[in-house]
């Protein structure tokens, strides 16, 4: 699964640590999600979407192998 978190972060000009603080998770978690090593739960994905003011599917994109 691909994601556009890095782009969305850049738009909002917020660091991984800042985003982590806003969402109540660790910076390592944001880093792992950005790198595609960890797929977040629906709740966390919805929180992200709400923070970035977009839809979940704008941030997380299915790939062919998913």
């Amino acid at each position: 699964m691909k994601n556009t978190i890095k782009v969305e972060r850049a738009k909002k000009d917020i660091t991984q640590a800042g985003l982590a603080e806003q969402l109540g998770v660790s910076r390592q978690t944001i880093n792992a999600i950005e790198k595609g090593k960890f797929v977040p739960s629906t709740a966390l994905a919805l929180k992200m979407a709400r923070f970035f003011e977009c839809k979940v599917e704008d941030i997380f994109l299915l790939e062919e192998e998913d």
């Binding site: 109540g24 978690t29 792992a32």
Partner: protein, 158 residues
């Protein structure tokens, strides 16, 4: 996999494992000295003091009898299991679903490693007394290593 202990229990766990290591060293000091001076193979056979005395004199006189060493070794085993458990099942500084998932994965991976390792020991070295609490201790040790690897390198930033 959710955890039940607060973050500072990790430090208590590390302290317990450290004390357990010291107790284990004290309890096994005679085997350690014998192994150092006589070589690994002879020490493994569990040669008794009388036999040692014949060849080495009083130089390798044991500090403890087996009965005297047992409380140290048992104490070490119990403390290490308690310490590893506290360390592994305590929350991270910022506990979230990422760490819960890594912990869960690591526990399963460590179980497989323990099965394989224990199987190999039974197969290749049946003279080793690896059973009961020692297998549990081994599992917790592998769990610690696999969890650290997953957290820092496989899924982490290092």
């Amino acid at each position: 996999m959710k955890t039940y202990f607060p973050y500072y229990f990790k430090r208590i766990g590390i302290l317990f494992v450290f004390v357990a290591f010291i107790l284990s060293f004290i309890g096994n000091i005679d085997d350690c000295r014998r192994g150092f001076y006589e070589g690994w193979n002879d020490a493994r056979k569990g040669i008794e003091y009388e036999e040692v005395q014949e060849t080495q004199g009083d130089f390798l006189k044991p500090y403890f009898t087996k009965e005297e060493a047992k409380p140290w070794i048992t104490g070490s085993l119990v403390l290490s299991i308690l310490g590893f458990t506290l360390y592994l099942f305590s929350k991270e500084k910022i506990e979230d679903e990422f760490y819960q998932q890594i912990r869960s994965k690591s526990l399963i991976q460590a179980l497989f490693v323990t099965w394989i390792f224990t199987g190999l020991v039974y197969w290749l070295g049946p003279e080793y007394d690896l059973d009961g609490f020692y297998i549990l201790q081994l599992h917790l040790l592998f769990f610690t290593l696999v969890y650290a690897y997953n957290r820092k390198w496989k899924f982490g930033t290092e």
